[in-house]
Symmetry: C2
Subunit: 354 residues, 2 copies
C-alpha cells in the first residue's frame, strides 16, 4: 500500500464519518413531556393522550418519545396552563375554559352554552376563523393550542333534586365550569369547578348539590347516580373540545417533519376522541336502563331553558363590551353558527325526522 | 503506518459503510401511485387525496411520494377497484358502493338508505366491527380499504319534476348509485350510475330525468339547478364515506413507520373531508337562496318515504338471504345503529330542539 492509497482511504473515512453524522442527526430522539388534567388511566380523555403519543412515536420511528404525567404525578389538575407556559412541561392536555379565571377569552375555545354542535365547531376551527383566533390569543402566552378531543353533546348533569322552575336553581351549589357556570350564577346558582378526581366526594359530602361532568361515556363509572339520580339532557356544552397545549419554545426546537407528525397526531387523536365518546355514550346509554334503573332522565322545563338563554345572551353582551378580543371571537362564532345551523337543520335534523 | 493500523482502518471503513447503508435504507424514497375516481382538481374529494399525500410526504420528510392520477389521466373513473387489485396503481380513492356489480357486499361500507349518520358510522367503523368486516371482505381481493372522507348527509337529489306520490317514481330515469338505486328500482324507477364528469350532459340530454350527486358542498358548481330545479332533502345517503383502496403487496413493501404515516394520513384526511363538507355545505346553502332563487327545496311526502323504507327493508332481507357475509354486515350495522341512534336522539337531536 503506497502513500496515495492511504490518503484515499483517509478521505473516504472522513467522508463516511460526515455522512454518518448527518444520518445520526436525522435519527436524534426528541423527548417531550406532557401533563394532563386527568387521573392516571382515565378513560376516553386519557386514551386520547396515549393514542396521540403512540401515533407520534410509531410515525417517527421512535424519534419522538412523549412521557405523559397524569394528575396523580404532577398534582395540579388545573395547573396545566402555567406548567406549559413556564416550560416545566412541553405539552399539556386539558380544556381551554379552565383558564377563564386567568384569561377570560380562553373560554370560547371549548364550547359555549346554546352554541355550535361538534361538526359545526370543528368546521369553525378548521375552515372558519377558529384556529387563527385561538392562535392569536394563546400566542400572548407563548403557547400553541390545538383541539384535543371532543366529548360530543354533554348531558346537563346530575341533580339531587328535580328542577321544576328557575326558583329551584337559586342557591344551588353546582360543579359546572366555563361560561355555563356564569349563566347559572346569574340565575342565582352557586357554580364552582372541581377536578374529576374529587367530584364524587364533593357530591357525597354536600359540598355541591349537583354537578355536570360529561355524559354517559364517562359519568356512569363515577357513581354519581347513587347520590344524585336526576340526569338532565344538555344545553350548556353542546361540543366540549379538549385542548393540546404546546410551549412555543419546545415546538420551535423540533424539525419540520416531527412538527407535522405532532400536528397530525394531535388532530387525529382529537377526532378519534369524538368518535370514541360517541361509541362509549351509545354503549353506556344502552346498558344504563337495565343496570341503573333508578336514574331518572329529565329535560329542563322550557321556562328554565328560556331563562338560561336570556341570561346567556346578556352575559355575552357584557363580555363583548369589556374585551375587543371577546367581541371578535363572539362575532365570528355567531356568524358561523348561523350559517352552519341552517345546514344542520336541513341535513341531519331533517333526516332524523324521516 | 504499520500493517495493524491499516487493518484497523479497513475495519473502521467497513463498519462505517455498513452504518451508512443502514442510514441510507432509512432515507429510501418510496414512490406510490394513486388513481382517483374524480376529474382533475375536483373540489373536496380531490382536496382529500391532496391533503393525504401532502401530510404523508411532510411527515415522512420526503420519503413517501404519492403521485395522484385523476380520471382525466387514467380514463377509468369506475375502474379503480380493478386497477388497484391488479397493481396497476398502488392506491385508489373512490367509493366502496361503486363495486356492488362485482362484489355485492362492498355496498355496505359507504352508506345505507335510512342508515347511520356520520358520527354513528365512524363509531361503527372504528369502535364497532366496521373495520374488521371491511378488511375481511376486501382481503379476498388482495386489497385493504380505509374510510376515505365523509360528505355528511346527502341531499335527495335534483328532479326536473316534482315528486308528489310513488306514481311519480315509476319510469323515472335517475342517476343514483348504491343500494338506494335498487330501492328506487323496486318502486319502478330506472336507476343508473354515471361518473361525475358526465352528469350534467346526461341530465341535459334527457338520458336521465333526475340525479343525486352530493349536496350543496359540490352540487351548485355542477349547474344541475339550471335544468332540474327541484332539490329534495335526503333519505338515501345519510353518511357517504369515500374509500382509500390499497394494494396489499404495495402496502407490505413499506416499512412500519411509513405504514403508520399512511394509516394516520388517510384517517385524518377522511375526517377532514367530513368537516370540509360541512363547511362548504353551510357556505353554499347560505348563498343558494340569494344567487339561485329558482331552486325549489322540497321534502319527499311521507307516503313516498314510507314506501322507500318498506322497499329498503324487503331488499335488505333478500340480500341477507343470498349472502352470509351480507347478513353478518347487516346484523352488525343494525345492532350498532339501534344503540347509537338512541344516543343521537337524547344528545344532538334533543339539543337542537331546545
Amino acid at each position: 500500500m503506497n502513500f496515495l492509497s492511504i490518503k484515499k482511504l483517509f478521505i473516504s473515512v472522513i467522508c463516511t464519518l460526515l455522512l454518518m453524522n448527518q444520518a445520526m442527526a436525522a435519527d436524534k430522539v426528541y423527548r417531550l413531556t406532557l401533563a394532563e388534567s386527568w387521573p392516571t388511566n382515565f378513560p376516553v380523555f386519557g386514551d386520547t393522550t396515549k393514542n396521540m403519543a403512540k401515533m407520534a412515536e410509531t410515525m417517527s420511528n421512535g424519534r419522538l418519545k412523549i412521557t405523559i404525567d397524569s394528575k396523580n404525578k404532577h398534582k395540579a389538575a388545573l395547573g396545566i396552563f402555567d406548567m406549559v407556559r413556564s416550560g416545566q412541561y412541553d405539552m399539556g392536555h386539558s380544556a381551554s375554559y379552565y383558564w377563564k379565571g386567568k384569561v377570560p377569552e380562553t373560554l370560547y375555545f371549548t364550547t359555549m352554552p346554546f352554541g355550535m354542535t361538534t361538526p359545526e365547531q370543528y368546521a369553525w376551527f378548521y375552515f372558519g376563523d377558529g384556529m387563527a383566533l385561538m392562535e392569536k390569543l394563546y400566542d400572548k402566552y407563548d403557547m400553541l393550542s390545538f383541539p384535543g378531543g371532543n366529548t360530543g353533546n354533554q348531558m346537563g348533569g346530575w341533580f339531587k333534586k328535580e328542577i321544576n322552575s328557575i326558583d329551584d336553581l337559586k342557591g344551588l351549589k353546582m360543579r359546572i365550569p366555563g361560561f355555563a357556570g356564569e349563566v347559572l350564577a346569574k340565575l342565582g346558582a352557586k357554580p364552582t369547578n372541581i377536578p374529576a378526581g374529587e367530584l364524587y366526594t364533593a357530591l357525597e359530602r354536600n359540598t355541591i348539590d349537583a354537578l355536570e361532568w360529561v355524559g354517559p361515556s364517562l359519568d356512569l363509572r363515577m357513581g354519581f347516580h347513587k347520590i344524585a339520580p336526576y340526569y338532565y339532557t344538555g344545553w350548556h356544552e353542546p361540543a366540549t373540545e379538549l385542548q393540546f397545549l404546546f410551549n412555543k419554545k419546545s415546538w420551535a426546537k423540533l424539525p419540520a417533519d416531527l412538527q407535522e407528525i405532532l400536528r397530525v397526531a394531535m388532530r387525529t387523536a382529537a377526532y378519534d376522541m369524538y368518535i370514541q365518546s360517541y361509541h362509549t355514550s351509545a354503549e353506556n346509554w344502552a346498558t344504563m336502563a337495565s343496570e341503573y334503573p333508578n336514574i331518572k332522565v329529565k329535560t329542563f322545563p322550557q321556562s328554565v331553558i328560556d331563562a338560561l338563554k336570556k341570561a346567556n345572551q346578556e352575559l355575552l353582551a357584557v363580555e363583548a363590551e369589556n374585551s375587543p378580543i371577546a367581541k371578535e371571537i363572539q362575532d365570528s362564532q355567531s356568524a358561523y353558527m348561523k350559517k352552519a345551523r341552517v345546514w344542520t337543520e336541513i341535513s341531519d335534523k331533517a333526516y332524523l325526522s324521516n
